[in-house]
């Protein structure tokens, strides 16, 4: 028990004292995950929205594919990105492997189906009367779409937050395509996974606490948005 208390004590000292290593690691997590969720949202919300409202040839296939992508384990996505970005792979000349960009690519792929699928159900959950109401008040197609999106905004925010929560805490992709390089691609999850094994127990706890400090409010926000929509 002493061992754990000692670890907790040192962890708090690190956080309060803004230990340089801890800050560097946390920043990598924040930068990579934020960029990833922005990309995933930019593509995911329109896709979810469109698929929910339009009937088109192959729609069922798209929905099935989306749901399958949701189930992809992070190591598989990591493997996929790795194979594309490594020197032997098709995009090897870009030299992106073991850089934060590789992590962003992988995490975007992870978050996209989450944001898209939840945006899809968010859009479907919007009251069916919104379309006619907007139209009869004079909205054109674009404005009607925005009205539907606006009415579903809480559920869509929830979708984005869910996506963020997922990428912020993932480790498979970060490990495989990031390489845990200090000050560069070492984020909270890879650091906890690898540094603790080397005896850096306090660092591991400090990072774990920071992770919770982000994950907890994120989940509370998610809950609030979910409730608001109903």
């Amino acid at each position: 028990m002493d061992y754990i208390f000692e670890g907790l004590k040192n962890a708090f000292k690190m956080i309060v004292g803004l230990d340089r290593q801890v800050i560097s690691i946390a920043l990598v997590s924040i930068k990579v995950s934020t960029l990833s969720i922005i990309l995933a949202t930019g593509l995911g919300v329109p896709v979810g929205f469109y698929v929910a409202l339009k009937d088109f040839w192959g729609k069922t296939a798209v929905v099935i594919i989306l749901n399958t992508l949701l189930a992809l384990p992070t190591v598989l996505i990591g493997l996929l990105v790795y194979s594309f970005l490594s020197r032997q792979g098709p995009l090897g000349t870009l030299g992106l492997l073991y850089t934060p960009w590789a992590m962003v690519i992988g995490q975007s792929i992870l978050a996209f189906p989450i944001v898209a699928a939840l945006s899809l159900s968010a859009t479907q959950g919007v009251d069916k009367r919104v379309k006619k109401t907007a139209l009869t008040l004079g909205a054109n197609a674009w404005q009607t779409g925005l009205a539907i999106l606006a009415e579903g905004r809480f559920a869509i925010f929830a979708a984005i937050i869910a996506g963020f929560g997922r990428v912020f805490t993932e480790v498979g992709i970060s490990m495989m395509v990031g390489g845990n390089i200090q000050g560069y691609t070492r984020n909270i999850t890879t650091a906890v996974a690898l540094e603790t094994g080397k005896g850096e127990f306090s660092l591991g706890i400090a990072l774990g606490i920071i992770l919770l400090m982000v994950a907890l409010p994120v989940n509370i926000l998610f809950y609030c948005f979910q409730r608001k929509k109903s």
């Binding site: 490594s86 020197r87 030299g95 073991y98 390089i181 200090q182 094994g197 080397k198």
Partner: protein
């Protein structure tokens, strides 16, 4: 037994230990971690014997009373590997010169960054050059040799690695040996028993038996004949001892 990942990865233990296990009717649990962690395990009394390659740390370990009866077992050499076209031109046998050139050109150098034996040797070399490597070109992976080599390969950068591990991975990476033969690259392996005075419950007798085995003529024969890709990875200490 606590040992380093590079030793475990070399595959030597898989041939060296079984005859011992059979002869003495005992099982050896190998825990492969970085040298730093291995020494920590010894200090805590979590293991009975250490088989590592970090001379200065080993000396401190014994001086502090954690270990006794250290024996040299074998040695090999470190080398600096890099891309075949050697962009910084480090080819030769000047370790310090090589490090200096890489730092000056700020070419990618991938380090273990994990307090392993390899990392400690690397840090010592930087110390001798008189600089602390820092910057976008110096990548610390904090992981084992395998991953570190992979990243070096990807980045087409330089890396310090022990010969044994390199030979084991040679087929998987495009990096080649560029700088070798400098006497500073000497990499001795030692085996130490955890002191029963410090931790009375350690398996001291069998630890001593193992030490006896690996330093016996039979043990040396196995070590000396252990080859990968047709090359000998480790040189037994008794036959060719360098200071």
């Amino acid at each position: 037994m606590a040992t380093t990942t590079s030793l475990e990865n070399s595959g030597l233990l898989a041939v060296l230990l079984p005859p011992f296990e059979k002869r003495f009717d005992v099982k050896v649990d190998v825990i492969a971690v970085g040298t730093g962690k291995a020494l920590k395990l010894g200090e805590n009394g979590d293991v009975d014997v250490l088989f590592v390659h970090a001379r200065e740390a080993e000396n401190r370990f014994i001086r502090d009373g954690f270990g006794i009866n250290r024996r040299d077992v074998m040695y090999n050499d470190f080398v600096i590997i890099g891309p075949a076209d050697d962009p910084v031109k480090i080819k030769g046998n000047d370790a310090l010169g090589a490090f200096r050139k890489i730092a000056h050109r700020k070419w990618f150098f991938v380090s273990r960054g994990d307090e392993s034996g390899t990392h400690k040797k690397e840090k010592k070399l930087w110390e001798l050059v008189g600089m602390k490597p820092r910057g976008k070109w110096y990548l610390e992976t904090g992981q084992g040799m395998g991953v570190t080599l992979q990243i070096a390969d990807e980045k087409r950068g330089y890396c310090l690695v022990d010969q044994g591990t390199y030979i084991a991975y040679a087929g998987k990476v495009e990096l080649v040996i560029l700088c070798e033969g400098d006497e500073r690259f000497f990499n001795p392996y030692g085996i130490i028993a955890v002191s029963p005075k410090r931790h009375p419950y350690v398996n001291y007798l069998y630890a001593m038996a193992l030490i006896g085995w690996v330093t016996s003529p039979e043990g040396h024969k196995i070590i000396g004949e252990f080859k990968k890709e047709g090359k000998v990875l480790f040189h037994p200490a008794v036959y060719k001892y360098k200071k």
